[in-house]
């Protein structure tokens, strides 16, 4: 079962559940932020986009202290897959499950648009369905999505191959022009050292149907489905 965390202010929670259930055919349920534990049959945790607790302090800062997050941390520590999308990525950085931070977009404005990202590594449980070097077309929608990390943290991420997605142009070239928000090294998504916690700013759940934003999001969510079903390639 996929547990989608429902924080007050989560906006893409139902969309994520819809993508998992109605499009990918998996069991998925919303898990309320005040719960101290995850449902016992949880095989993967997803933290959706939105504005948790209004994001009035710092994006994801309040959510990091939600009761359910202690359970998510235990789940991650035990090796369970955890995926944070947009605000979920911010929450994972604030909890320390992922390194770095997401800061205000370079142009200062909120951006809703489709971008291209290059898959830097093909590996379970998050990118096994995509070839390394392939590009995905996914939407972003955020005001604070510029990835930032200390130089030593970024060097570690690069060395260990933990930058899984990078903003690129339609041909897959990673260029400054293709960087929508000023993220360091065009980083769009990173994972932890163990590889079981992944955060990304683009929204795969809004790209699972050809008529509604394309189907490239299935490369990410589908990989997680494969991993949970034990069919990781």
């Amino acid at each position: 079962m996929f547990s989608v965390i429902q924080l007050p202010g989560s906006n893409d929670d139902r969309d994520l559940r819809f993508a998992l259930k109605s499009v990918l055919g998996c069991a998925a349920e919303l898990v309320w932020h005040e719960q101290a534990s995850l449902p016992s049959d949880t095989r993967a945790v997803l933290i959706p986009g939105g504005f948790s607790y209004g994001d009035y302090l710092r994006c994801g800062a309040m959510a990091a202290y939600a009761p359910v997050m202690a359970a998510v941390r235990r789940f991650a520590d035990a090796g369970g897959p955890v995926l944070g999308i947009c605000n979920g990525f911010q929450v994972l950085c604030e909890t320390g499950l992922l390194p770095g931070a997401l800061v205000r977009n370079q142009g200062l404005n909120f951006i809703c648009d489709f971008v291209h990202v290059r898959v830097e590594r093909s590996a379970p449980p998050f990118t096994s369905r995509a070839r390394a070097g392939s590009t995905l077309r996914l939407p972003i929608k955020h005001g604070e999505g510029a990835y930032f990390a200390r130089p030593d943290e970024l060097a570690t991420l690069e060395r260990e191959g933990r930058v899984l997605l990078r903003y690129c142009d339609a041909r897959g070239e990673v260029t400054p022009e293709a960087n929508p928000n000023g993220a360091l090294a065009n980083v769009a998504g990173v994972c932890n050292a163990r590889g079981n916690v992944f955060g990304l700013m683009p929204h795969p759940e809004h790209a699972v149907d050809a008529l509604f934003g394309g189907e490239d999001g299935k490369a990410i969510l589908g990989s997680l489905v494969d991993a949970v079903r034990g069919g990781a390639r």
Binding site: G54, N109, F110, F212
Partner: protein, 749 residues
């Protein structure tokens, strides 16, 4: 009635509250005594222009509001229309003009918040927003600031509450230099048998207050700010602008929908204009009951608030509910789970009176109906503007001849009114809830419908908001007909069947007979067009006093249309999708230059008669589009509006994901400027892979249609028959000019 030191109520104080001498006399008659200070405040807001529609009522009554699909017409928070299979859509458009000019970020944000509450108060989940924005020229730094602020406000609120902004319109004109317009539209989805109304029924039932605490913000926002024109001292009214909290609104949406999914709630109303006062009076009046309130129970943000302040505060994100007696706790616990305050503040009574207590004293005791229903109805004088016929004079033969049509097209595409609005809508979440088939930038937005439990259906709704204020200034009747026709045509361009309308009537000071004449003419046009097109007006809003120091805006009756598509997979888009398609023009080119963007932008002239509107043709055109799209013989359909045929063709070439050129040949024997840039109504550019079938269908339905070219290549060429082209330009360079129109102006210091 009270020993507290409150101002003595007399005629002078009543006048300060915006009440007329006659209205004050009426109050004395109703009460049989002098009102208390709080009571005076109540009458002043309930009878304000903003809340009572006293100047406009007479005309609004004449609008067609019924039809086979209408479940709820005007009178509730929003209109509701059946879309079949037990589902309904609930929608409305509302203005937040005055606050947005004073404080653009919060003014626009709370405009979005207010319209959302109107929708979810009915039990519907808000799924799609549009906005219609009007500013002064971007050369004015103040208006660049206002644009940035309003977009920040619309986006900041809409994005955070998780409702997609899927479309809208934005124009810039000198007439909005002193009064910008911010009209916000929202549409929600609800099961037909779960529509809630603002009714305080059931003697003894508890009245529940839920949401944000009450503060001193927004007192007299509706009655004083939105019910008088601006002058040099208007910035002193900033404290009357409310402050929005989208996080609370988001939780309020979820909590309200959760309590309304059960049967403990009997009635619900949001606290909008005039706050607690208006909501409780409306709920009691609709139900024919009374209400008793204890103000000491109202959650308060500040200390020492007076009853007057508590009753009139327009603090945002607050709801008033009536629940079944004995089931209060069920309701309260849902709000508390969402981290919101909710308390019982009163009871429903059966004596038709509003009784309010504070610190154990009775501070209000007045009959409900005279306040809520017997508000004054004015029959203000109307007079045709002295220069009206002068405005319509136009001698096209006197225009300077055009030497370079390519340059002419480029200049039009570079105007902020015709240029891309992506700078605005890129700042709005267009995708949340996952149902956006067509977002901003096309003719109409298209949104899939899910049931309340999240199950997807095959249905989609098409939405468009339109008005050409220049036409409405030249001829308010004809201009409003055209606004309705365009909104309906835009919806039809997706293949959807137009269902119903909502409208936001933005005008100047109604105390001036010329403004009232504009209003009368515009509403006559709205009614005639709505009747003829079979699209009833199910909700709406009036915003008067859009005037500063005697200068009024152009009449701006913004019209939003909603249409239904039974199978969302079969829809048309505005842009060309592929090369090698036949370009078919539906409708006829006529020599009509009056009121065109071409005249205004290229010649600096705003004059002439707006293009004629043929409603019977529009009706046939809508039927053709629906049938042609369903049959697969229309792949794309784009309405010809501002900028005329040449601008519309350019948009077909470059607004899609791929840029696709076209070769067009026009044989019409009319002036080239009118042919290329005239804004004759009732025309649509289609691309078809099966033009024979489309032309046969058009002939059967009585719509003029003909081939005018083919898609393909990297250039747009528009030529007369057997002669050198007027226009021959690379699509990519036209697109670049169009895309930079607004950003390049915002980069100026």
């Amino acid at each position: 009635m009270s020993a507290r030191r409150e101002p003595e109520v007399d005629l002078a104080l009543a006048r300060e509250h915006g009440l007329s001498d006659g209205e004050y006399a009426e109050i004395l008659t109703i009460l049989g005594r002098t009102p208390s200070f709080s009571e005076l405040g109540i009458f002043s807001v309930m009878w304000s222009e903003h809340c009572s529609y006293k100047s406009s009522k007479k005309y609004l009554k004449r609008l067609p509001t019924e039809g086979p699909c209408v479940l709820q017409g005007p009178g509730e928070n929003a209109g509701a229309v059946s879309i079949g299979d037990g589902l309904a859509v609930v929608f409305k458009i509302e203005s937040h003009n005055h606050p947005s000019f004073i404080e653009p970020v919060q003014g626009a944000a709370t405009g979005v918040g207010g319209i959302l509450r109107d929708i979810f108060t009915m039990g519907a989940r808000p799924v799609a927003s549009l906005d219609s924005l009007r500013f002064g020229p971007l050369e004015d730094p103040k208006h660049r600031h206002l644009l940035r602020g309003v977009v920040h406000g619309v986006g900041g609120y809409g994005n955070a509450v998780g409702v997609a902004t899927v479309g809208g319109e934005t124009t810039f004109h000198e007439c909005y230099r002193g009064n910008i317009l911010v009209n916000a539209f929202n549409l929600g989805v609800v099961e037909q048998n779960r529509i809630f109304k603002a009714r305080a029924t059931g003697l003894g039932n508890p009245v529940i207050y839920a949401g944000s605490r009450t503060g001193r913000d927004g007192i007299h926002g509706a009655s004083l700010l939105a019910s008088a024109e601006f002058d040099d001292s208007s910035s002193a009214k900033r404290p009357t602008v409310q402050v929005g909290d989208p996080f609370t609104e988001k939780c309020l949406i979820e909590a309200c929908l959760e309590v309304m999914s059960g049967d403990a709630v009997v009635g619900i109303q949001d606290m909008g204009a005039a706050g607690l006062t208006c909501s409780s009076f409306e709920m009691a009046s609709h139900a024919g009951t009374g209400i008793e309130l204890d103000l000491d129970l109202v959650p308060q943000r500040e200390s020492n608030m007076t009853p007057y302040e508590l009753l009139l505060s327009e603090s945002q994100e607050r709801m008033l509910l009536v629940a079944q007696a004995g089931r209060e706790d069920e309701v309260l616990s849902v709000y508390r789970r969402w981290g919101l305050e909710a308390v019982v503040v009163g009871r429903v009574t059966d004596d038709g009176r509003m009784r309010v207590r504070w610190h154990g004293e009775k501070v209000v005791d007045i009959p409900v109906d005279p306040v809520a229903r017997l508000s004054p109805e004015l029959d203000r004088p109307t007079r045709e503007p002295a220069d009206w016929l002068e405005r319509q004079k136009l001698d096209p033969s006197a225009l300077a001849p055009e030497s370079d049509w390519n340059e002419a097209l480029a200049r039009l595409l570079d105007s902020p009114n015709l240029g891309s609005k992506a700078w605005l809508y890129r700042q709005y979440d267009q995708l949340v809830q996952g149902d956006t088939l067509i977002g901003p930038g096309g003719d109409a937005a298209l949104v899939r419908i899910k049931r309340m439990d999240g199950t997807p259906t095959r249905k989609a709704v098409a939405l468009s908001v339109d008005c050409n204020p220049r036409w409405c200034w030249l001829d308010p009747y004809a201009g409003t007909l055209a606004a309705v026709a365009e909104a309906v045509r835009n919806v039809a361009c997706t293949g959807a069947r137009p269902l119903a309308l909502t409208n936001c009537l933005n005008f100047g000071n109604p105390e001036r007979p010329e403004i009232m004449w504009e209003f009368a003419e515009a509403t006559r046009g709205l009614g005639d067009a709505a009747s003829e097109l079979g699209t009833p007006v199910v909700s709406g809003n009036v915003s008067l006093y859009n005037e500063t120091s005697g200068r009024a805006i152009y009449p701006t009756p913004t019209v939003a249309a909603v249409g239904l598509l039974d199978d969302y997979a079969r829809h048309a888009v505005a842009h060309f999708r592929a090369a090698g398609r036949t370009v078919v023009l539906l409708g006829e080119n006529r020599e009509e230059l009056g009121g065109s963007t071409w005249l205004a932008e290229r010649h600096g002239i705003e004059a002439g008669r707006p293009p004629a509107v043929d409603l019977a043709h529009e009706r046939r055109l809508a039927a053709l589009l629906a049938e042609g799209v369903a049959a697969g013989s229309i792949e794309s359909a784009h309405d010809i509006s501002d900028g005329g045929l040449a601008v519309a063709l350019a948009e077909c070439c470059f607004t899609g994901p791929a840029q696709i050129g076209a070769e067009i040949e026009l044989a019409d024997a009319i002036r080239a400027d009118a042919l290329l840039f005239g804004e004759t109504t009732g025309r649509v550019i289609c691309a078809s892979a099966d033009a024979d079938r489309l032309l046969a269908l058009a002939a059967r339905l009585g719509v003029p249609a003909r081939r005018i070219g083919t898609t393909g290549g990297e250039r747009l060429r528009i030529a007369p028959r057997a002669a050198e082209p007027w226009i021959d330009a690379p699509v990519a360079s036209l697109r670049e000019i169009w895309a930079r129109a607004i950003p390049r102006r915002l980069e100026e210091p």
